[in-house]
C-alpha cells in the first residue's frame, strides 16, 4: 500500500511546492494577508465615508440620484433651529455624561483597586451593563422612567414621602434630557472603571510607599502620583468615550426618539430621522458630516495623549 501511495504523494508535493513557493514569496504573501481586511475596510468604510461627504453636497433622496448643489444643505442647516438644538444637546449630553462617567468610573476603579474578598466576582458584575445590548437596557430604563409606574417615583412618593406627585421623566424637555444622560452614565461607568483599573494596577506600589514615608496625605498621593500616572490612559479612554458618546444613537432612539418636541435629538438621531426615515439622504448626510469636526478634535486629543505616554516612558517613536 505504501508503494502505491508514494509516487502520487511525490506529485502532490511538487504541485504544492509551486504554490507554497508563491506563498513564501514575501510581497505576495503580504498582499494576500492584508487583502481581506483592507478590502472590507475600503469597500464598507473608506468608500462610504467619501460617499457620505459627497452626498452632503447633493440633494439625493431615496430612489433618486441627486445633483451637486454646493453648500446648500449646510446653509439650510445653519438656519435650522432643530439642527442647532441637536448640536447643543449633543455637546451638553457629551459634556455632562463624560464628566459623570469619569468621576464615578474613576471612583469605582479606585474602590476596586483595594483588596477585599470576592474581588474578581465583583469586577465581573460591574462590567455587566456594558456587555448587555444597549437597546435592551435602554428599554429597562424606559420602563423605569414610565410616567405612571416608574419605580423611582414610587420610591420617592409612596415609600420615602419626599414628593407628592410622580416625576414626569420623559414628558418635558429638561427632565428628559437629564434622564437620558443618567442612562448613558449608567452604561458608561463599567467601561471607564475597568479600563482605569487596569491602569491603576500598573502603578508601582513603591511610589506610594515613598510618598507615605514623606508624610503625604491620601489626597496628595492621589493628586501627585495617581493622577499624573493615569493621565495617558485617561486621555485614551476619554477620547473613545467622547467619540462614542457624541455619536450616540441607540439610547436616545430607544427611549425618546428625539422627543418631547424634538428636545432630545442628538445629531445622529436627527440624521437618521431626516436621512433614512424622511428619505432626504443628502440632508441626513450633511448632518452626519457636521459631526466630523468634533470627532477630529477628539482624535487630536487622543494623539497628544499617546505622544505624551511615549515621552514619559522614554521610548522612541516606533
Amino acid at each position: 500500500m505504501s508503494v502505491t501511495t508514494l509516487p502520487s504523494r511525490g506529485v502532490a508535493l511538487r504541485q504544492s511546492n509551486w504554490i507554497a513557493r508563491l506563498f513564501d514569496y514575501k510581497p505576495f504573501l503580504i498582499v494576500m494577508c492584508l487583502a481581506p481586511a483592507i478590502g472590507l475596510l475600503t469597500v464598507f468604510l473608506t468608500y462610504p465615508l467619501g460617499l457620505g461627504v459627497w452626498l452632503a453636497f447633493t440633494d439625493t433622496t431615496i430612489g433618486q440620484r441627486g445633483i451637486y448643489i454646493g453648500l446648500e444643505n449646510f446653509q439650510y442647516l445653519l438656519k435650522d433651529s432643530l439642527w442647532w438644538n441637536a448640536v447643543f444637546y449633543s455637546v451638553f449630553y457629551t459634556g455632562i455624561a463624560t464628566i459623570g462617567k469619569f468621576a464615578l468610573g474613576f471612583w469605582l476603579a479606585l474602590l476596586l483597586n483595594n483588596h477585599f474578598p470576592l474581588k474578581s466576582l465583583l469586577r465581573a458584575i460591574v462590567l455587566l451593563p456594558w456587555i448587555v445590548p444597549t437597546v435592551l437596557s435602554a428599554l429597562a430604563f424606559w420602563w423605569i422612567y414610565d410616567p405612571q409606574f416608574s419605580i423611582i417615583s414610587y420610591l420617592l412618593v409612596d415609600v420615602l414621602h419626599i414628593r407628592s406627585t410622580n416625576i414626569d421623566f420623559l414628558g418635558t424637555p429638561w427632565p428628559a434630557r437629564f434622564s437620558l444622560i443618567a442612562a448613558n452614565i449608567w452604561r458608561g461607568i463599567p467601561f471607564v472603571a475597568i479600563s482605569l483599573l487596569a491602569g491603576l494596577q500598573t502603578i508601582s506600589p513603591s511610589l506610594y510607599e515613598a510618598a507615605m514615608l514623606d508624610g503625604a496625605t491620601a489626597w496628595q498621593r492621589f493628586r501627585y502620583i495617581t493622577l499624573p500616572m493615569m493621565m495617558p490612559i485617561l486621555a485614551i479612554v476619554m477620547t473613545f468615550s467622547i467619540i462614542f458618546t457624541f455619536t450616540d444613537f441607540q439610547l436616545v432612539y430607544a427611549i425618546t426618539r428625539g422627543g418631547p418636541v424634538n428636545s432630545t435629538h442628538l445629531l445622529a438621531t436627527l440624521a437618521f430621522q431626516r436621512g433614512i426615515a424622511g428619505g432626504e439622504l443628502g440632508e441626513g448626510a450633511a448632518i452626519a458630516v457636521s459631526m466630523i469636526p468634533f470627532l477630529v478634535f477628539a482624535t487630536l486629543f487622543s494623539y497628544f495623549g499617546l505622544a505624551r505616554r511615549k515621552w514619559q516612558q522614554g521610548e522612541a517613536n516606533d
Binding site: 475596510l41 476596586l112 474578581s120 462590567l127 420602563w143 461607568i189 473613545f240 452626519a288 459631526m291
Partner: protein
C-alpha cells in the same frame, strides 16, 4: 495639617483597640458602602427587567396592593407569548447567524492582517496598522446613510448578509489591534527555528503562531460576537422585513405597539435577548477583561 495628622495617629496608637475598630469602620464607610451602592445601581435595571418579565399584568400595574419589588405569583405568560405568538425565535436565529458570520469573517481577516503587520514586517507596516486603528475611530453614526446606498447598490438591502459584511468595519480594527498585541508576546525565535527547519510562512502561521495565539483569538472572537449581537444602528437602517430583523431592533420596532406598552413582554424580550451574551460573558469573564484592557493599553 501634618501636625494634626500626627496628633491623631498618636492618639490612636495610644489605644490599639479603638484604632482597630476605627480603621475597620473607616474601611466600611470608605470602601464597602460606596461599592455596595455602585453594585446596587449597576444591577438594579437588570433586576427590574427580570422581575417585570415574570410578573402577571395585574401586579405589574398595581403598586398599591402589591410590593413592586417582589412577585407574589410569578408567571411565564410573557415568555410564552414571546416565544409562540411573535417571531422571536426567528429573530434570535437571525441574530445568531449574523453574529457568528461576522465574527468568523472578521477573525479571518484580522488574523491575517495582524500577522502581516506584526510578523511579515514590511516597509510601511506601522502605517497600515495606524490606518486600521484610525478606522476604529470612525463611528457608525456618520457611516450609516452612505452605507445604506452602498448596500442598495449591492442588492443586499434587507438581507442579513449585508450585516455580516458591514459589521467587520468596526470588528476588524478592534480584533487586529488585539491580535497584534498578542502576536507581539509570542517569541519570534520560535518562528525563526521553524524557518531554519524549512517550514513555509503559512505553515508557521498555522502550526506555530496560531496555536500559541489561541487565547487572543478567543478574546477577539467573544468580543466580536458581543459587539455584533449588540449592534443597532446598521441593523435598524438596512433591514426592513420583520423576519430578518435582529433581536435589539425587532424588540424596539415590532414589540412596541400602540399606546399601551406591554412591559411584561418587552422586558421578557430584553431578558432573553441579553441572556446569550450574559451567558457567554460568565464563561469567559477573564477574556473580556483582558481584551478590554489590552485594547485600551495597546
Amino acid at each position: 495639617m501634618t501636625d494634626v495628622a500626627a496628633q491623631s495617629t498618636n492618639a490612636a496608637s495610644a489605644t490599639p483597640d479603638t484604632m482597630a475598630w476605627d480603621s475597620r469602620a473607616r474601611r466600611v464607610m470608605m470602601i464597602y458602602l460606596p461599592l455596595a451602592c455602585f453594585v446596587l445601581i449597576l444591577l438594579f435595571p437588570f433586576y427590574w427587567m427580570a422581575i417585570t418579565a415574570f410578573k402577571p399584568n395585574a401586579e405589574l400595574l398595581n403598586f398599591k396592593q402589591h410590593n413592586p419589588f417582589w412577585i407574589s405569583s410569578p408567571t411565564l405568560a410573557h415568555i410564552k407569548h414571546l416565544l409562540f405568538d411573535t417571531a422571536y425565535p426567528t429573530w434570535l436565529k437571525t441574530t445568531m447567524f449574523v453574529a457568528i458570520g461576522s465574527t468568523f469573517l472578521s477573525l479571518f481577516a484580522s488574523t491575517l492582517a495582524a500577522y502581516a503587520i506584526e510578523r511579515l514586517r514590511f516597509r510601511g507596516s506601522p502605517y497600515v496598522g495606524l490606518g486600521i486603528y484610525l478606522a476604529y475611530l470612525v463611528p457608525p453614526s456618520i457611516l450609516f446613510i452612505p452605507l445604506a446606498t452602498v448596500i442598495v447598490q449591492f442588492g443586499l438591502f434587507d438581507s442579513p448578509m449585508a450585516l455580516i459584511l458591514v459589521y467587520p468595519t468596526f470588528l476588524v480594527p478592534f480584533c487586529t489591534w488585539l491580535l497584534i498585541g498578542y502576536f507581539k508576546s509570542i517569541p519570534y525565535e520560535l518562528e525563526e527555528c521553524a524557518l531554519v527547519d524549512g517550514a513555509t510562512r503559512l505553515q508557521i502561521l498555522r502550526r506555530i503562531t496560531l496555536p500559541l495565539a489561541v487565547p487572543g483569538l478567543i478574546s477577539a472572537g467573544i468580543f466580536s460576537f458581543t459587539l455584533s449581537w449588540n449592534e443597532f444602528i446598521y441593523a435598524l437602517a438596512f433591514i426592513q422585513s420583520g423576519a430578518n430583523k435582529t433581536v435589539p431592533v425587532a424588540i424596539l420596532t415590532e414589540l412596541v405597539t400602540g399606546d399601551v406598552y406591554q412591559w411584561g413582554a418587552l422586558m421578557a424580550g430584553s431578558l432573553l435577548g441579553s441572556l446569550p451574551v450574559a451567558l457567554f460573558y460568565s464563561l469567559f469573564v477573564d477574556y473580556y477583561v483582558s481584551s478590554l484592557t489590552g485594547a485600551v493599553k495597546e
